[in-house]
């Protein structure tokens, strides 16, 4: 496919998606909002996890801070929604920078564990601060305008995806990839690894926070347990990895496909939907450990053998 055709397809997809609120039912639009928000989260995780190679479990913390930014601004201070978005984003970025400095010294499993603890710690702190509504939570003024939430989420996803696209052709993005591929090798070639990792963490946190802000206003309620839900972080990782981490469209496609599967399962086989979803994820990891994007790249040359090769390569 030539570059022009690919851009044309991407633009067309965005236009079709943007038109959904005008012909889709309420259920479809609501499904769309939650899927778009998950896609933003997966794409945000892609920056730190997919491109920089740091498997962050801290992104649900940024999501929560973004949600509380909107909650506090609107409920406690009577400020407009967008001020809350800015406030939440500032909190998340500041948090990413402050925590990134010590935490990003850790690598691999240790980094994952350290960030995993973050959400718990922050939830515990928030539960005790009156400004954050303690553990009772905050109730936001309702806004019955799903089309607006939908378009806002879509715009955010487009912004996140454009950012990732920019990464693949910028010096900054090359530095991040070099860090992922070999951090020591990157440092001796002049990459300021510490600064780049923190910037990637903050950028990833920025998108998570903005997604959290939209979610909070849409759901109109937030408490520490729902805002700092670690399973949300697991979800974004699964979606990004399912689609193809370190690719421009992989995490977005992963989020759409898995949300659709999950939606169908929970309406068809209500009780055991979780079980089937688990089977889908396990099958994906076994058959295509490098995600959908990798299949697209290699299926033409190896065909169905692609799956057999993966099974053999990973000795499962």
């Amino acid at each position: 496919m030539s570059k022009t055709i690919r851009i044309a397809i991407a633009v067309l997809v965005v236009i079709v998606l943007a038109a959904v609120p005008w012909f889709g039912s309420d259920v479809v639009v609501q499904f769309g909002i939650s899927t778009l928000i998950l896609a933003v989260l997966a794409q945000g995780w892609n920056i730190i996890g997919g491109y920089t190679g740091y498997a962050s479990f801290g992104n649900s913390t940024f999501f929560g801070l973004g949600a509380y930014g909107v909650g506090i601004a609107m409920v406690q201070w009577n400020l407009p929604f967008w001020v809350g978005m800015v406030f939440g984003a500032v909190m998340a970025v500041a948090f990413a920078i402050l925590l990134g400095i010590p935490v990003l010294r850790l690598r691999g499993h240790y980094f994952a564990i350290a960030t995993l603890a973050l959400a718990q710690v922050v939830a515990a702190i928030v539960s005790n601060i009156p400004l954050f509504g303690e553990n009772i939570g905050l109730v936001l003024p309702p806004l019955n305008n799903d089309a607006m939430f939908y378009e806002l989420s879509l715009a955010l996803l487009v912004a996140a995806t454009l950012t990732v696209w920019w990464l693949t052709r910028s010096r900054f993005g090359f530095g991040l990839i070099a860090i992922r591929e070999n951090e020591e090798g990157a440092a001796v070639m002049g990459v300021d690894t510490t600064r780049y990792k923190i910037m990637a963490f903050a950028l990833s946190g920025l998108f998570s926070a903005l997604a959290g802000g939209i979610q909070a206003y849409w759901i109109t309620f937030l408490d520490p347990a729902s805002a700092f839900d670690i399973s949300l972080n697991v979800k974004m990782i699964i979606m990004a990895v399912f689609g193809g981490p370190g690719t421009i469209f992989g995490p977005v496609v992963g989020a759409f496909v898995l949300s659709a599967i999950s939606e169908v399962l929970s309406s068809e086989v209500t009780n055991i939907a979780g079980l089937f979803f688990g089977i889908v994820v396990v099958a994906a990891v076994v058959l295509m450990p490098r995600g959908l994007a990798d299949i697209v790249r290699h299926f033409r040359s190896s065909g169905w053998r692609y799956f057999a090769q993966n099974i053999r390569a990973h000795r499962i």
């Binding site: 010096r171 990839i177 591929e181 070999n182 090798g185 440092a187 001796v188 070639m189 002049g190």
Partner: protein
């Protein structure tokens, strides 16, 4: 000739082990200095201390007259110190070309180089080390000898003033060794000072202007290759006392 690099009483200890012990020497601009020594003599540690992936326990390292002892690796890289790794550190998922482009993008610090321009530069460096036709392959598809050359191209793309080569000839056959020697000579002729660590004594003897011998972390000889290699303590260190 002025000194581009000065190593001043540098010591590096690891828990209970002195890897580099009170080593001092100077490297003159435009020189090829060979560093030899048996396994575990502290050669790679020395390169890591100069490139900044390790910091000395004591002593001072000066580059172009400025102390770099407390600078992180990336700053030293931007000042003009390029290195290769004995255990190769390619970016496996990137193309061979982009591996080298990283050096062109970051070797000069913050001044921004366009990606296109960096790739063009990278292509020239790949041609220079003889990897031109592998440019579009993934780096992890290269064999051992190819990876050694890639290490060189990556370091050269930074356009360093000083190049540290950590066993770039290990595992190569005679023909390949001759080719690498040729490349390193050309590097020096282009005005880059070179420090070469090597196991293959024959190769390094013909290449180096000067030889430095490390043994148990200490400098035991430093001078003309022929003189150093016939030195009694050096022969003892390499072959054992009885044979000497």
């Amino acid at each position: 000739m002025s000194a581009i690099l000065e190593i001043d009483h540098v010591t590096r200890r690891f828990a209970g082990l002195v890897a580099v012990s009170d080593v001092s020497f100077a490297l003159n601009e435009g020189e090829i200095l060979g560093v030899i020594g048996p396994n575990g003599a502290g050669k790679t540690t020395l390169v890591s201390l100069i490139s900044g992936t390790l910091t000395p326990s004591s002593g001072d390292i000066r580059f172009q007259g400025q102390s770099i002892t407390s600078l992180p690796a990336f700053r030293r890289a931007r000042l003009g110190i390029g290195r290769t790794f004995q255990i190769m550190r390619p970016f496996p998922g990137l193309s061979v070309l982009d591996n080298v482009a990283v050096g062109a993008l970051f070797g000069h610090g913050e001044e921004s180089t366009a990606l296109q321009e960096a790739r063009e530069k990278a292509r020239r460096h790949l041609e220079f080390v003889g990897l031109g036709r592998f440019a579009d392959q993934r780096a992890d598809e290269l064999g051992g000898p190819g990876r050694k050359r890639l290490e060189l191209a990556k370091a050269l793309a930074m356009e360093p003033k000083l190049l540290l080569c950590d066993e770039v000839m290990a595992g190569l056959n005679h023909v390949e060794i001759d080719e690498v020697i040729d490349v390193i000579r050309k590097v020096r002729d282009s005005g880059i000072t070179v420090l070469v660590i090597e196991h293959v004594i024959k190769a390094i003897k013909s290449l180096s202007d000067r030889l430095l011998v490390l043994h148990h972390g200490e400098k035991i000889a430093d001078g003309e290759p022929d003189v150093v290699l016939s030195d009694k303590t050096v022969v003892e260190a390499y072959l054992g006392k009885r044979r000497a």
